[in-house]
Symmetry: C2
Subunit: 274 residues, 2 copies
Amino acid sequence: MAPKTSLERPSRRGLFGLAGVLGLLGATARPAPAAPIPPAEARVSLHGRPIRVVDLTHELTSEFNLGPGRPRISMEAIQGSGAAVGMNLNRLSLVEHTGTHIDAPRHFSNQGASLGEIPIGDLVVPLAVVDLKARAAGDSDAAVGVADILAWERRHGRLPEGCCVAVNAGFNPLAPRTPGALARRQTPGFSLEAAEMLMKARQVKGIAVDGLSLDIGANVPAYPVHQAWLRSGRWGIEGLANLDAVPPSGALLVVGAPPVKDATGMPIRALAIF
Amino acid sequence: MAPKTSLERPSRRGLFGLAGVLGLLGATARPAPAAPIPPAEARVSLHGRPIRVVDLTHELTSEFNLGPGRPRISMEAIQGSGAAVGMNLNRLSLVEHTGTHIDAPRHFSNQGASLGEIPIGDLVVPLAVVDLKARAAGDSDAAVGVADILAWERRHGRLPEGCCVAVNAGFNPLAPRTPGALARRQTPGFSLEAAEMLMKARQVKGIAVDGLSLDIGANVPAYPVHQAWLRSGRWGIEGLANLDAVPPSGALLVVGAPPVKDATGMPIRALAIF
Protein backbone atom coordinates (compact mmCIF):
# COMPACT_ATOMS: atom_id res chain seq x y z
CA MET A 1 0.00 0.00 0.00
CA ALA A 2 1.08 3.56 -0.48
CA PRO A 3 2.07 5.65 2.49
CA LYS A 4 -0.14 8.64 3.12
CA THR A 5 1.41 11.32 1.01
CA SER A 6 1.76 14.82 2.36
CA LEU A 7 1.99 16.67 -0.99
CA GLU A 8 4.59 18.83 0.72
CA ARG A 9 7.90 17.21 -0.15
CA PRO A 10 10.18 19.23 -2.39
CA SER A 11 9.24 18.85 -6.04
CA ARG A 12 11.29 16.53 -8.21
CA ARG A 13 9.47 17.66 -11.30
CA GLY A 14 12.08 20.02 -12.67
CA LEU A 15 14.92 17.56 -12.26
CA PHE A 16 12.89 14.64 -13.56
CA GLY A 17 11.69 16.66 -16.52
CA LEU A 18 15.20 17.67 -17.46
CA ALA A 19 16.43 14.12 -17.11
CA GLY A 20 13.64 12.91 -19.35
CA VAL A 21 14.41 15.50 -21.98
CA LEU A 22 18.11 14.75 -21.95
CA GLY A 23 17.39 11.05 -22.32
CA LEU A 24 19.11 10.03 -19.08
CA LEU A 25 16.31 7.65 -18.16
CA GLY A 26 16.11 4.37 -19.96
CA ALA A 27 12.34 4.44 -19.83
CA THR A 28 12.17 7.59 -21.93
CA ALA A 29 15.47 7.42 -23.77
CA ARG A 30 15.70 9.36 -27.01
CA PRO A 31 18.44 11.13 -28.91
CA ALA A 32 19.71 14.23 -27.10
CA PRO A 33 18.70 17.41 -28.93
CA ALA A 34 21.31 19.89 -30.13
CA ALA A 35 20.44 22.30 -27.32
CA PRO A 36 18.85 21.46 -23.96
CA ILE A 37 15.13 22.13 -23.84
CA PRO A 38 13.77 23.57 -20.59
CA PRO A 39 11.72 21.01 -18.66
CA ALA A 40 8.48 22.85 -19.37
CA GLU A 41 9.04 22.76 -23.13
CA ALA A 42 8.97 20.08 -25.79
CA ARG A 43 9.30 19.83 -29.53
CA VAL A 44 7.06 17.64 -31.64
CA SER A 45 6.04 17.50 -35.27
CA LEU A 46 2.65 17.60 -36.95
CA HIS A 47 2.07 17.13 -40.68
CA GLY A 48 5.85 16.93 -40.94
CA ARG A 49 6.33 20.41 -39.49
CA PRO A 50 8.03 21.24 -36.17
CA ILE A 51 5.86 22.47 -33.31
CA ARG A 52 6.94 23.81 -29.94
CA VAL A 53 4.98 22.99 -26.82
CA VAL A 54 5.19 25.10 -23.65
CA ASP A 55 3.59 23.95 -20.41
CA LEU A 56 1.68 26.86 -18.87
CA THR A 57 0.76 24.92 -15.73
CA HIS A 58 2.07 25.04 -12.17
CA GLU A 59 2.46 21.71 -10.42
CA LEU A 60 -0.58 21.44 -8.16
CA THR A 61 0.47 21.09 -4.53
CA SER A 62 -1.05 21.87 -1.17
CA GLU A 63 1.01 25.07 -1.22
CA PHE A 64 -1.62 26.63 -3.45
CA ASN A 65 -3.69 28.81 -1.17
CA LEU A 66 -6.14 30.98 -3.01
CA GLY A 67 -7.66 32.72 -0.05
CA PRO A 68 -7.85 32.69 3.71
CA GLY A 69 -9.94 29.80 4.97
CA ARG A 70 -10.24 28.09 1.60
CA PRO A 71 -9.31 24.41 1.85
CA ARG A 72 -6.22 23.18 0.03
CA ILE A 73 -5.91 20.04 -2.05
CA SER A 74 -5.43 16.93 0.04
CA MET A 75 -4.70 13.32 -0.73
CA GLU A 76 -5.45 10.11 1.13
CA ALA A 77 -4.11 6.69 0.21
CA ILE A 78 -6.78 4.06 -0.42
CA GLN A 79 -6.23 0.42 0.38
CA GLY A 80 -8.06 -1.87 -1.94
CA SER A 81 -7.92 -5.18 -3.70
CA GLY A 82 -4.89 -3.96 -5.65
CA ALA A 83 -2.66 -3.79 -2.56
CA ALA A 84 -1.54 -7.40 -3.05
CA VAL A 85 0.02 -6.53 -6.43
CA GLY A 86 1.54 -3.24 -5.33
CA MET A 87 -1.11 -0.87 -6.64
CA ASN A 88 -1.06 2.68 -5.27
CA LEU A 89 -4.28 4.68 -5.35
CA ASN A 90 -5.36 7.91 -3.70
CA ARG A 91 -8.53 9.81 -3.05
CA LEU A 92 -8.19 13.51 -3.76
CA SER A 93 -10.20 16.27 -2.15
CA LEU A 94 -9.96 19.64 -3.79
CA VAL A 95 -11.81 22.86 -4.31
CA GLU A 96 -12.42 23.31 -8.04
CA HIS A 97 -10.51 26.61 -8.13
CA THR A 98 -7.01 25.68 -7.03
CA GLY A 99 -3.70 25.55 -8.88
CA THR A 100 -3.70 26.54 -12.53
CA HIS A 101 -7.42 26.25 -13.18
CA ILE A 102 -10.38 27.23 -15.32
CA ASP A 103 -13.44 29.22 -14.24
CA ALA A 104 -16.51 27.97 -16.12
CA PRO A 105 -19.48 30.32 -16.62
CA ARG A 106 -21.30 28.32 -13.90
CA HIS A 107 -18.83 29.76 -11.36
CA PHE A 108 -20.84 33.00 -11.35
CA SER A 109 -24.11 31.94 -12.97
CA ASN A 110 -26.47 29.16 -11.93
CA GLN A 111 -27.69 28.93 -15.53
CA GLY A 112 -24.23 29.19 -17.09
CA ALA A 113 -22.35 26.34 -18.72
CA SER A 114 -20.65 23.95 -16.35
CA LEU A 115 -17.18 22.71 -17.20
CA GLY A 116 -18.51 19.58 -18.87
CA GLU A 117 -20.70 21.66 -21.17
CA ILE A 118 -18.04 23.87 -22.75
CA PRO A 119 -17.55 22.75 -26.38
CA ILE A 120 -14.07 21.56 -27.28
CA GLY A 121 -13.88 24.26 -29.95
CA ASP A 122 -13.88 26.84 -27.16
CA LEU A 123 -10.91 25.17 -25.43
CA VAL A 124 -8.36 25.17 -28.27
CA VAL A 125 -8.05 28.80 -29.33
CA PRO A 126 -5.56 31.43 -30.49
CA LEU A 127 -3.56 32.92 -27.62
CA ALA A 128 -2.74 36.64 -27.28
CA VAL A 129 -0.32 37.51 -24.45
CA VAL A 130 -0.32 41.06 -23.06
CA ASP A 131 2.82 41.99 -21.11
CA LEU A 132 2.03 43.77 -17.85
CA LYS A 133 5.29 42.98 -16.06
CA ALA A 134 6.74 46.49 -15.90
CA ARG A 135 3.64 47.97 -14.32
CA ALA A 136 2.95 44.98 -12.08
CA ALA A 137 6.48 45.20 -10.67
CA GLY A 138 5.53 48.47 -9.01
CA ASP A 139 1.83 47.80 -8.37
CA SER A 140 0.64 44.47 -7.04
CA ASP A 141 -2.89 45.32 -8.15
CA ALA A 142 -1.98 46.37 -11.69
CA ALA A 143 -4.79 45.96 -14.23
CA VAL A 144 -4.79 45.48 -17.98
CA GLY A 145 -6.83 48.32 -19.43
CA VAL A 146 -8.31 49.19 -22.80
CA ALA A 147 -5.13 51.08 -23.72
CA ASP A 148 -3.05 47.94 -23.17
CA ILE A 149 -5.26 45.95 -25.55
CA LEU A 150 -5.04 48.66 -28.18
CA ALA A 151 -1.24 48.82 -27.77
CA TRP A 152 -1.06 45.03 -28.33
CA GLU A 153 -3.17 45.41 -31.48
CA ARG A 154 -0.94 48.16 -32.87
CA ARG A 155 2.00 45.74 -32.71
CA HIS A 156 0.34 42.43 -33.59
CA GLY A 157 -2.86 43.27 -35.46
CA ARG A 158 -6.46 42.87 -34.38
CA LEU A 159 -7.11 40.21 -31.75
CA PRO A 160 -7.85 36.95 -33.60
CA GLU A 161 -11.46 35.79 -33.59
CA GLY A 162 -12.23 33.39 -30.76
CA CYS A 163 -8.95 33.99 -28.95
CA CYS A 164 -7.93 33.97 -25.31
CA VAL A 165 -6.26 37.13 -24.00
CA ALA A 166 -3.72 36.30 -21.27
CA VAL A 167 -1.99 38.76 -18.94
CA ASN A 168 1.70 38.16 -18.26
CA ALA A 169 2.26 40.09 -15.05
CA GLY A 170 5.24 38.06 -13.87
CA PHE A 171 3.19 36.89 -10.91
CA ASN A 172 4.21 33.75 -9.02
CA PRO A 173 1.30 32.35 -7.02
CA LEU A 174 3.68 30.16 -5.03
CA ALA A 175 5.92 33.00 -3.80
CA PRO A 176 5.71 33.63 -0.06
CA ARG A 177 3.09 36.20 0.86
CA THR A 178 2.26 37.81 4.14
CA PRO A 179 -1.09 36.93 5.71
CA GLY A 180 -2.10 40.53 5.11
CA ALA A 181 -1.33 40.39 1.41
CA LEU A 182 -3.18 37.09 1.15
CA ALA A 183 -6.22 38.45 2.94
CA ARG A 184 -6.24 41.47 0.64
CA ARG A 185 -5.78 39.14 -2.34
CA GLN A 186 -3.10 41.38 -3.89
CA THR A 187 -3.04 40.17 -7.48
CA PRO A 188 -2.87 41.67 -10.99
CA GLY A 189 -5.75 41.16 -13.42
CA PHE A 190 -8.17 42.81 -15.82
CA SER A 191 -10.03 46.07 -15.46
CA LEU A 192 -13.79 45.91 -16.00
CA GLU A 193 -13.41 48.33 -18.93
CA ALA A 194 -10.95 45.99 -20.67
CA ALA A 195 -13.19 42.96 -20.08
CA GLU A 196 -16.19 44.81 -21.50
CA MET A 197 -14.21 45.84 -24.57
CA LEU A 198 -13.15 42.21 -25.18
CA MET A 199 -16.76 41.04 -24.82
CA LYS A 200 -18.44 43.73 -26.90
CA ALA A 201 -15.93 45.01 -29.45
CA ARG A 202 -13.91 41.85 -30.09
CA GLN A 203 -14.63 38.12 -30.48
CA VAL A 204 -12.79 36.79 -27.43
CA LYS A 205 -13.65 33.43 -25.82
CA GLY A 206 -11.50 33.51 -22.72
CA ILE A 207 -9.33 35.69 -20.52
CA ALA A 208 -6.43 34.40 -18.45
CA VAL A 209 -4.06 35.65 -15.77
CA ASP A 210 -0.88 34.41 -14.14
CA GLY A 211 -2.24 35.90 -10.91
CA LEU A 212 -4.82 34.52 -8.54
CA SER A 213 -7.90 36.22 -9.91
CA LEU A 214 -9.32 37.64 -13.12
CA ASP A 215 -10.19 40.65 -10.98
CA ILE A 216 -7.41 42.71 -9.40
CA GLY A 217 -7.11 42.35 -5.65
CA ALA A 218 -8.58 45.78 -5.00
CA ASN A 219 -11.82 44.64 -6.67
CA VAL A 220 -12.21 41.53 -4.48
CA PRO A 221 -14.74 40.56 -3.15
CA ALA A 222 -16.97 42.58 -5.51
CA TYR A 223 -15.56 40.63 -8.49
CA PRO A 224 -16.85 42.91 -11.25
CA VAL A 225 -14.84 41.17 -14.01
CA HIS A 226 -15.88 37.69 -12.88
CA GLN A 227 -19.48 38.81 -12.81
CA ALA A 228 -19.51 40.42 -16.25
CA TRP A 229 -17.27 37.93 -18.05
CA LEU A 230 -18.47 34.59 -16.70
CA ARG A 231 -22.13 35.60 -16.82
CA SER A 232 -21.69 36.38 -20.52
CA GLY A 233 -21.01 32.66 -21.08
CA ARG A 234 -17.23 32.96 -21.40
CA TRP A 235 -14.50 31.25 -19.37
CA GLY A 236 -11.40 32.42 -17.50
CA ILE A 237 -8.11 30.87 -16.41
CA GLU A 238 -6.19 31.76 -13.26
CA GLY A 239 -2.64 30.89 -12.24
CA LEU A 240 -0.93 30.38 -15.61
CA ALA A 241 2.84 29.73 -15.62
CA ASN A 242 5.68 30.27 -18.11
CA LEU A 243 4.08 33.02 -20.17
CA ASP A 244 7.56 34.45 -20.80
CA ALA A 245 8.23 31.42 -23.02
CA VAL A 246 5.26 32.09 -25.33
CA PRO A 247 5.12 34.59 -28.21
CA PRO A 248 2.64 37.47 -27.79
CA SER A 249 0.86 36.36 -30.96
CA GLY A 250 0.62 33.22 -33.08
CA ALA A 251 0.34 30.41 -30.51
CA LEU A 252 -2.64 28.17 -29.82
CA LEU A 253 -3.78 27.69 -26.25
CA VAL A 254 -4.89 24.15 -25.37
CA VAL A 255 -7.05 24.15 -22.23
CA GLY A 256 -6.70 20.61 -20.92
CA ALA A 257 -9.68 20.78 -18.57
CA PRO A 258 -11.10 17.44 -17.36
CA PRO A 259 -14.80 17.76 -18.33
CA VAL A 260 -16.36 17.28 -14.91
CA LYS A 261 -20.14 17.35 -15.09
CA ASP A 262 -21.73 20.30 -13.28
CA ALA A 263 -18.34 21.65 -12.14
CA THR A 264 -17.78 25.40 -11.87
CA GLY A 265 -14.06 24.94 -12.56
CA MET A 266 -11.22 22.47 -12.31
CA PRO A 267 -7.43 22.29 -12.23
CA ILE A 268 -6.21 22.00 -15.81
CA ARG A 269 -3.17 21.29 -17.94
CA ALA A 270 -2.72 24.42 -20.04
CA LEU A 271 -0.37 24.24 -23.02
CA ALA A 272 0.74 26.66 -25.70
CA ILE A 273 1.66 25.21 -29.08
CA PHE A 274 3.30 27.24 -31.82
CA MET B 1 -25.24 29.95 -2.97
CA ALA B 2 -25.30 26.96 -5.22
CA PRO B 3 -27.64 24.07 -4.52
CA LYS B 4 -25.92 20.79 -3.79
CA THR B 5 -25.44 19.28 -7.20
CA SER B 6 -26.05 15.59 -7.76
CA LEU B 7 -23.89 15.09 -10.88
CA GLU B 8 -26.72 12.90 -12.09
CA ARG B 9 -28.89 15.19 -14.17
CA PRO B 10 -29.02 14.44 -17.90
CA SER B 11 -26.05 15.92 -19.71
CA ARG B 12 -26.54 19.09 -21.72
CA ARG B 13 -23.05 18.86 -23.14
CA GLY B 14 -23.97 17.48 -26.53
CA LEU B 15 -26.70 20.03 -27.16
CA PHE B 16 -24.65 22.88 -25.79
CA GLY B 17 -21.63 21.86 -27.80
CA LEU B 18 -23.60 21.66 -31.01
CA ALA B 19 -25.20 25.02 -30.33
CA GLY B 20 -21.80 26.55 -29.70
CA VAL B 21 -20.37 25.12 -32.90
CA LEU B 22 -23.31 26.31 -34.97
CA GLY B 23 -22.98 29.78 -33.52
CA LEU B 24 -26.46 29.87 -32.01
CA LEU B 25 -25.21 31.42 -28.79
CA GLY B 26 -24.35 35.08 -28.78
CA ALA B 27 -21.53 34.46 -26.34
CA THR B 28 -19.66 32.25 -28.78
CA ALA B 29 -21.06 33.46 -32.08
CA ARG B 30 -18.97 32.82 -35.15
CA PRO B 31 -19.68 32.16 -38.82
CA ALA B 32 -21.39 28.81 -39.41
CA PRO B 33 -19.05 26.34 -41.13
CA ALA B 34 -19.96 24.82 -44.47
CA ALA B 35 -20.77 21.47 -42.84
CA PRO B 36 -21.79 20.85 -39.23
CA ILE B 37 -18.95 19.71 -36.99
CA PRO B 38 -19.76 17.06 -34.39
CA PRO B 39 -19.73 18.50 -30.86
CA ALA B 40 -16.55 16.62 -29.95
CA GLU B 41 -14.62 18.09 -32.87
CA ALA B 42 -13.26 21.51 -33.73
CA ARG B 43 -11.20 23.13 -36.44
CA VAL B 44 -8.44 25.61 -35.72
CA SER B 45 -5.40 26.88 -37.55
CA LEU B 46 -1.74 26.93 -36.64
CA HIS B 47 0.98 28.62 -38.68
CA GLY B 48 -1.77 29.39 -41.17
CA ARG B 49 -2.62 25.71 -41.70
CA PRO B 50 -5.88 24.00 -40.75
CA ILE B 51 -5.86 21.55 -37.83
CA ARG B 52 -8.63 19.27 -36.66
CA VAL B 53 -9.19 18.67 -32.96
CA VAL B 54 -11.05 15.63 -31.63
CA ASP B 55 -12.00 15.33 -27.98
CA LEU B 56 -11.12 11.84 -26.72
CA THR B 57 -12.64 12.40 -23.29
CA HIS B 58 -15.86 11.22 -21.68
CA GLU B 59 -17.68 13.73 -19.53
CA LEU B 60 -16.80 12.77 -15.96
CA THR B 61 -19.92 11.95 -13.97
CA SER B 62 -20.77 9.85 -10.96
CA GLU B 63 -21.90 7.16 -13.42
CA PHE B 64 -18.27 6.17 -13.87
CA ASN B 65 -17.81 3.09 -11.75
CA LEU B 66 -14.49 1.40 -12.27
CA GLY B 67 -14.94 -1.46 -9.86
CA PRO B 68 -17.15 -2.77 -7.11
CA GLY B 69 -16.75 -0.81 -3.92
CA ARG B 70 -14.63 1.90 -5.48
CA PRO B 71 -15.97 5.36 -4.59
CA ARG B 72 -17.36 7.53 -7.37
CA ILE B 73 -16.71 11.22 -7.88
CA SER B 74 -18.80 13.40 -5.63
CA MET B 75 -19.34 17.12 -5.34
CA GLU B 76 -20.35 19.34 -2.45
CA ALA B 77 -21.25 23.03 -2.72
CA ILE B 78 -19.15 25.34 -0.56
CA GLN B 79 -20.54 28.50 0.93
CA GLY B 80 -18.00 31.23 1.29
CA SER B 81 -17.42 34.92 1.16
CA GLY B 82 -18.39 34.87 -2.52
CA ALA B 83 -22.00 33.91 -1.84
CA ALA B 84 -23.02 37.57 -1.63
CA VAL B 85 -22.01 38.16 -5.25
CA GLY B 86 -23.44 34.89 -6.59
CA MET B 87 -20.26 32.84 -6.70
CA ASN B 88 -20.68 29.07 -7.03
CA LEU B 89 -17.91 26.82 -5.77
CA ASN B 90 -17.69 23.09 -5.09
CA ARG B 91 -15.42 20.71 -3.32
CA LEU B 92 -14.74 17.57 -5.33
CA SER B 93 -13.85 14.19 -3.93
CA LEU B 94 -12.56 11.68 -6.44
CA VAL B 95 -10.39 8.64 -6.75
CA GLU B 96 -7.54 9.45 -9.13
CA HIS B 97 -8.52 6.69 -11.54
CA THR B 98 -12.02 7.63 -12.64
CA GLY B 99 -13.42 8.81 -15.96
CA THR B 100 -11.02 9.19 -18.85
CA HIS B 101 -7.78 9.20 -16.86
CA ILE B 102 -4.03 8.68 -16.84
CA ASP B 103 -2.11 6.05 -14.89
CA ALA B 104 1.28 7.47 -13.81
CA PRO B 105 4.19 5.07 -13.13
CA ARG B 106 3.60 5.73 -9.38
CA HIS B 107 0.30 3.81 -9.69
CA PHE B 108 2.27 0.55 -9.56
CA SER B 109 5.66 1.68 -8.28
CA ASN B 110 6.46 3.57 -5.08
CA GLN B 111 9.60 4.90 -6.74
CA GLY B 112 7.98 5.67 -10.09
CA ALA B 113 7.18 9.13 -11.38
CA SER B 114 4.08 10.72 -9.97
CA LEU B 115 1.79 12.62 -12.29
CA GLY B 116 3.46 15.94 -11.50
CA GLU B 117 6.85 14.54 -12.47
CA ILE B 118 6.07 13.40 -16.01
CA PRO B 119 7.83 15.79 -18.45
CA ILE B 120 5.56 17.67 -20.83
CA GLY B 121 7.44 16.13 -23.75
CA ASP B 122 6.01 12.76 -22.72
CA LEU B 123 2.44 14.08 -22.80
CA VAL B 124 2.27 15.42 -26.37
CA VAL B 125 3.15 12.47 -28.58
CA PRO B 126 2.31 10.77 -31.89
CA LEU B 127 -0.83 8.63 -31.67
CA ALA B 128 -1.20 5.19 -33.27
CA VAL B 129 -4.71 3.69 -33.12
CA VAL B 130 -5.11 -0.09 -33.40
CA ASP B 131 -8.62 -1.22 -34.35
CA LEU B 132 -9.82 -4.14 -32.22
CA LYS B 133 -13.54 -3.61 -32.74
CA ALA B 134 -14.31 -6.72 -34.77
CA ARG B 135 -12.71 -9.08 -32.26
CA ALA B 136 -13.99 -7.19 -29.21
CA ALA B 137 -17.56 -7.42 -30.52
CA GLY B 138 -17.42 -11.16 -29.94
CA ASP B 139 -15.08 -11.27 -26.93
CA SER B 140 -15.45 -8.81 -24.07
CA ASP B 141 -11.91 -9.65 -22.94
CA ALA B 142 -10.26 -9.24 -26.34
CA ALA B 143 -6.57 -8.32 -26.19
CA VAL B 144 -4.27 -6.55 -28.63
CA GLY B 145 -1.43 -8.96 -29.36
CA VAL B 146 1.93 -8.74 -31.09
CA ALA B 147 0.31 -9.77 -34.38
CA ASP B 148 -2.05 -6.78 -34.20
CA ILE B 149 0.88 -4.38 -33.75
CA LEU B 150 2.71 -5.94 -36.68
CA ALA B 151 -0.44 -5.73 -38.83
CA TRP B 152 -0.72 -2.01 -38.01
CA GLU B 153 2.92 -1.51 -39.01
CA ARG B 154 2.43 -3.28 -42.34
CA ARG B 155 -0.25 -0.71 -43.21
CA HIS B 156 1.16 2.46 -41.63
CA GLY B 157 4.90 1.92 -41.23
CA ARG B 158 6.93 1.42 -38.09
CA LEU B 159 5.43 2.89 -34.90
CA PRO B 160 6.74 6.45 -34.56
CA GLU B 161 9.36 7.06 -31.88
CA GLY B 162 7.89 8.16 -28.59
CA CYS B 163 4.29 7.43 -29.59
CA CYS B 164 1.21 6.28 -27.70
CA VAL B 165 -0.48 3.11 -28.94
CA ALA B 166 -4.25 3.24 -28.36
CA VAL B 167 -6.72 0.38 -28.69
CA ASN B 168 -10.05 1.17 -30.31
CA ALA B 169 -12.23 -1.69 -29.11
CA GLY B 170 -15.53 0.16 -29.46
CA PHE B 171 -15.96 -0.07 -25.69
CA ASN B 172 -18.33 2.30 -23.93
CA PRO B 173 -17.53 2.52 -20.20
CA LEU B 174 -20.90 4.17 -19.55
CA ALA B 175 -23.02 1.42 -21.09
CA PRO B 176 -25.14 -0.53 -18.59
CA ARG B 177 -23.37 -3.58 -17.19
CA THR B 178 -24.58 -6.32 -14.94
CA PRO B 179 -23.10 -6.50 -11.44
CA GLY B 180 -21.47 -9.77 -12.49
CA ALA B 181 -19.75 -8.24 -15.51
CA LEU B 182 -18.60 -5.32 -13.38
CA ALA B 183 -17.21 -7.61 -10.70
CA ARG B 184 -15.34 -9.59 -13.34
CA ARG B 185 -14.13 -6.34 -14.91
CA GLN B 186 -14.94 -7.53 -18.46
CA THR B 187 -12.89 -5.15 -20.57
CA PRO B 188 -10.64 -5.27 -23.64
CA GLY B 189 -6.98 -4.30 -23.33
CA PHE B 190 -3.38 -5.30 -24.07
CA SER B 191 -1.75 -8.69 -23.82
CA LEU B 192 1.45 -8.84 -21.79
CA GLU B 193 3.32 -9.98 -24.90
CA ALA B 194 2.21 -6.89 -26.84
CA ALA B 195 3.16 -4.59 -23.95
CA GLU B 196 6.60 -6.18 -23.71
CA MET B 197 7.14 -5.80 -27.44
CA LEU B 198 6.22 -2.08 -27.25
CA MET B 199 8.63 -1.61 -24.32
CA LYS B 200 11.57 -3.58 -25.67
CA ALA B 201 11.40 -3.54 -29.46
CA ARG B 202 9.82 -0.12 -30.06
CA GLN B 203 10.16 3.38 -28.56
CA VAL B 204 6.66 3.79 -27.11
CA LYS B 205 5.87 6.21 -24.27
CA GLY B 206 2.29 5.31 -23.50
CA ILE B 207 -0.49 2.81 -24.10
CA ALA B 208 -4.17 3.65 -24.03
CA VAL B 209 -7.51 1.86 -24.09
CA ASP B 210 -11.15 2.84 -24.52
CA GLY B 211 -11.91 0.14 -21.95
CA LEU B 212 -11.62 0.23 -18.20
CA SER B 213 -8.15 -1.25 -17.81
CA LEU B 214 -4.86 -1.61 -19.66
CA ASP B 215 -5.15 -5.28 -18.69
CA ILE B 216 -8.01 -7.35 -20.05
CA GLY B 217 -10.62 -8.32 -17.51
CA ALA B 218 -9.45 -11.93 -17.36
CA ASN B 219 -6.06 -10.71 -16.08
CA VAL B 220 -7.55 -8.65 -13.23
CA PRO B 221 -6.57 -8.55 -10.36
CA ALA B 222 -3.10 -9.87 -11.31
CA TYR B 223 -2.57 -6.83 -13.57
CA PRO B 224 0.44 -8.13 -15.50
CA VAL B 225 0.40 -5.29 -18.05
CA HIS B 226 0.03 -2.60 -15.40
CA GLN B 227 2.91 -4.14 -13.48
CA ALA B 228 5.29 -4.42 -16.43
CA TRP B 229 4.37 -1.19 -18.20
CA LEU B 230 4.01 1.27 -15.34
CA ARG B 231 7.02 -0.09 -13.48
CA SER B 232 9.11 0.56 -16.59
CA GLY B 233 8.44 4.28 -16.10
CA ARG B 234 5.79 4.61 -18.79
CA TRP B 235 2.19 5.82 -18.51
CA GLY B 236 -1.20 4.50 -19.56
CA ILE B 237 -4.62 5.98 -20.30
CA GLU B 238 -7.95 4.30 -19.64
CA GLY B 239 -11.44 5.20 -20.84
CA LEU B 240 -10.70 7.10 -24.08
CA ALA B 241 -13.66 8.19 -26.22
CA ASN B 242 -14.22 8.96 -29.91
CA LEU B 243 -11.34 6.92 -31.31
CA ASP B 244 -13.43 6.27 -34.43
CA ALA B 245 -12.95 9.95 -35.32
CA VAL B 246 -9.14 9.76 -35.31
CA PRO B 247 -6.91 8.45 -38.12
CA PRO B 248 -4.90 5.30 -37.29
CA SER B 249 -1.68 7.21 -37.98
CA GLY B 250 -0.58 10.84 -38.19
CA ALA B 251 -2.33 12.49 -35.24
CA LEU B 252 -0.77 13.94 -32.11
CA LEU B 253 -2.20 12.98 -28.72
CA VAL B 254 -2.35 15.80 -26.17
CA VAL B 255 -2.66 14.41 -22.64
CA GLY B 256 -4.21 17.27 -20.70
CA ALA B 257 -3.38 15.90 -17.25
CA PRO B 258 -3.47 18.37 -14.35
CA PRO B 259 0.02 17.93 -12.82
CA VAL B 260 -0.98 16.96 -9.29
CA LYS B 261 2.04 16.46 -7.06
CA ASP B 262 2.50 12.88 -5.85
CA ALA B 263 -0.63 11.68 -7.67
CA THR B 264 -0.75 8.17 -9.16
CA GLY B 265 -3.23 9.33 -11.81
CA MET B 266 -5.90 11.91 -12.55
CA PRO B 267 -8.87 12.55 -14.79
CA ILE B 268 -7.61 14.25 -17.95
CA ARG B 269 -8.70 16.05 -21.09
CA ALA B 270 -7.32 13.95 -23.94
CA LEU B 271 -7.28 15.48 -27.42
CA ALA B 272 -6.14 14.32 -30.81
CA ILE B 273 -4.92 16.99 -33.24
CA PHE B 274 -4.23 16.30 -36.88
